[in-house]
């Protein structure tokens, strides 16, 4: 499974990723295509993605800020409204007490029936009152209306009594007292006509206050409660402590106005806290109104939106990277292929140049050898003539034999120099119309017997689209004969030899001679057209066969190339123009000849 996956991955890899043409390396413009590919993808990705990221971050921050300020505004509004309600609640009751002491004289207040009547009326008008009591300037409770029996109780030592005497009004914290019920005490000081003073005190239930506060609570992540200035919970809270416990939030700094701050609570959750120090027009109170909203909960909608945006941005990034990767791969591969084509052309050109210079050298050598060779020839010939013609030497067979050796050697040298010259010199080219089928048949006639004897299968496939071509029949025949002879030497008995011809474009034909014989190693491929290069045994080949073939193909204005794999076979491809005359004319014009 993993093997198959790797195979699939391998086939998807672009050509430059596993370049095989090591021998072309010196001709490449760029060496490390993988690096170009990597750097290209990285730079393009950074250029494309950076603005997207920056814009996304800026957008997030803007949204965050706007959501924060919206949250702060809403919290502040709730805190402000709740403060007004709590202030009104206390102020209304304080005013009721003040009205009572101003309106009703001390005598009536201390009359138990009238006092009980007053409590009833106040309960009806305002509600939430538990009891009423009148306390003399000495701190003794002189009248009481309510469910308990507290007449005669002495308050002179209590702190609230001293404070009320000083400030004329008093609002207590919420406390349990000996009734063991949470309640608030409010008290008003008043003067009697004789100059002494007394205090009218009322006990308020906290139920109503808690209900009023609850009505301002918004959502499950919000909390609203009262705390004392010393940080004791005055009403129960959902998150920050029960009644009379220590508040789980720090006590805020005093401010006469409603304030909102952003901070983290005891558990590290970011919260927005709105607070107000409750103060009525008549008296200051010990209460701080606290409104909290947990940011995480309040930002649910925004977080959902952000998650959608994140998905969208993530998807976009993925698409961008895929497109960049595909584009980069395509472009770098194109670049690589173009570079490879150039490198191949340069390699071929260099080989041609090499062959041309070797050819020139060979021609020079051949020319220089020819003159002394001619002299040896004539001298030896003359000596032989003397022996043959003059009677006195004619019987000396050994001398004759030796001279024949000289002449034979000269003849061999002559053959070699002629072949060398054949490579560089242009023989006359006799152009005629040639039928490829016939030429190939003629060539194969030479090998018919051998093919039969060695059981070599020769397949000839000449495309019907190939017209008669204008070329030099003799040279073409020699070229094909050389290549077919080579192929016959390369294949074992029972192997195949394919000769195919196809039109190439409008003006060319290509002839392929392909065998499945012994092939040759890659390092030999670039040398096979060089003169004197041979893989045959010493003395069996001159190493000029393919050199001459190359020269002949060039003379026919064609090209010859070779592909080979050791033990798999060799393929020679010859490309020839259909109209040689035209090509030669073009050539002459371009060289100004």
């Amino acid at each position: 499974m993993i093997g198959r996956f790797r195979q699939l991955l391998g086939s998807l890899r672009p050509e430059f990723y596993h370049r095989t043409s090591e021998h072309l390396n010196p001709y490449f413009t760029f060496t490390d295509y993988r690096k170009i590919w990597g750097v290209g993808i990285f730079l393009l990705a950074v250029t494309a993605l950076l603005p997207l990221m920056v814009v996304t971050v800026i957008y997030y921050q803007l949204i965050q800020k706007s959501v924060d300020s919206e949250l702060i505004l809403r919290t502040e509004r709730v805190a402000s409204n709740a403060r007004r309600a709590v202030t009104f609640f206390l102020e209304e009751r304080l005013n009721a007490l003040r009205f009572t002491v101003n309106e009703i004289d001390y005598g009536r207040l201390t009359n138990p029936d009238d006092f009980a009547e007053l409590l009833r009326n106040l309960k009806l008008g305002f509600g939430g009152l538990t009891d009423l009591s009148v306390i003399s300037h000495a701190g003794i409770q002189v009248a009481y209306a309510g469910p308990f029996h507290l007449e005669g109780k002495d308050y002179s030592k209590q702190a609230w009594f001293a404070e009320c005497q000083n400030c004329n009004f008093y609002v207590s914290e919420i406390f349990r007292g000996y009734r063991d019920l949470p309640h608030i005490i409010i008290a008003v000081k008043s003067f009697r006509p004789d100059g002494t003073h007394f205090i009218l005190r009322a006990t308020l239930e906290t139920e109503r206050l808690i209900q009023t506060l609850s009505s301002y609570k918004t959502g499950e992540h919000a909390d609203i409660f009262l705390a004392s200035r010393s940080g004791i919970m005055q009403t129960p809270s959902k998150f920050y402590g029960d009644l009379f416990e220590k508040m789980a939030l720090p006590v805020p700094d005093y401010s006469p106005r409603t304030q909102t701050v952003m901070a983290a609570d005891g558990q590290g959750r970011p919260i927005i806290t709105g607070y107000a120090f409750i103060s009525t027009q008549i008296a200051d109170t010990p209460f701080i109104l606290m409104v909290t909203k947990q940011k995480a909960g309040m930002m649910g909608v925004w977080l959902e939106l952000r998650s959608k945006i994140n998905w969208l941005v993530g998807f976009s990034i993925m698409v961008i990277i895929i497109v960049i990767a595909i584009t980069c791969t395509f472009m770098v591969n194109k670049l690589y292929l173009a570079d490879k084509a150039k490198a191949e052309a340069m390699a071929v050109m260099e080989q041609n140049n090499q062959l041309a210079s070797i050819g020139q050298l060979a021609a020079g050598v051949a020319h220089e050898i020819n003159n002394p060779l001619a002299l040896i020839n004539e001298t030896a010939g003359y000596v032989k003539d003397l022996f043959v013609i003059k009677e006195q030497y004619s019987k000396d067979d050994e001398l004759l034999e030796n001279i024949d050796y000289i002449l034979e050697a000269v003849a061999r040298c002559g053959t070699i120099t002629r072949q060398l010259l054949g490579f560089s010199r242009k023989f006359d080219v006799k152009i005629q119309r040639v039928n490829l089928n016939e030429v190939i048949s003629d060539v194969l006639v030479f090998h018919n017997k051998e093919a039969e004897y060695r059981n070599v299968n020769v397949f000839v496939d000449i495309s019907k689209d190939i017209p008669e071509i204008e070329t030099d029949r003799g040279k073409l025949q020699q070229v094909l004969l050389n290549l077919v002879s080579n192929a016959f030497q390369a294949v074992d008995n029972g192997c195949n030899l394919d000769i195919t011809a196809l039109p190439e474009g409008v003006n060319k034909v290509s002839i392929t001679i392909c065998d499945n014989g012994c092939g040759m190693p890659e390092e030999n491929l670039s040398k096979i057209f060089e003169p004197f290069f041979t893989t045959k045994e010493r003395g069996k080949g001159t190493g000029l066969g393919l050199t001459i073939t190359y020269g002949l193909v060039k003379k026919l204005h064609g090209n010859i190339s070779v592909k080979s794999r050791e033990n798999e076979g060799t393929e020679f491809i010859i490309t020839l123009p259909i109209h040689l005359q035209e090509e030669m004319r073009k050539d002459e014009n371009s060289f100004g000849r």
Partner: protein, 123 residues
Amino acid sequence: MKQYNLLIVDDEQRFADMLARRLNLRGCNCEVCYSGREALNILKQKKMHLILLDLYLPDIYGTEVLTRIRKNDERTPVIIVTGHGTEKDRRECMQRGAYAFMHKPVGIDELMTILAEIGEKSA
């Protein structure tokens, strides 16, 4: 066999001499000269059956010698014998009326065959 008058023009003196000796042994009557001018002078005085002409001569290039020979005499066959001949030379010489273009070293038998051929034609 008819005796042929031959002129061998080659700056390689020993080659020319040797070739002359061998042809003489085969019944020819060879004259040898080593430059183009000499050759033209001899040709003014004597009629030849065949001229063997080198291309790289010290004074006048072989093709030019051939042209000058052809000015006065259109018939005498001229065989170019050279060690340096290029295809261009060959074409030029054939255009200017050479009978054959041969590369050194030249086979004596080949030469004799050509001579016999010329003899047949002129007979």
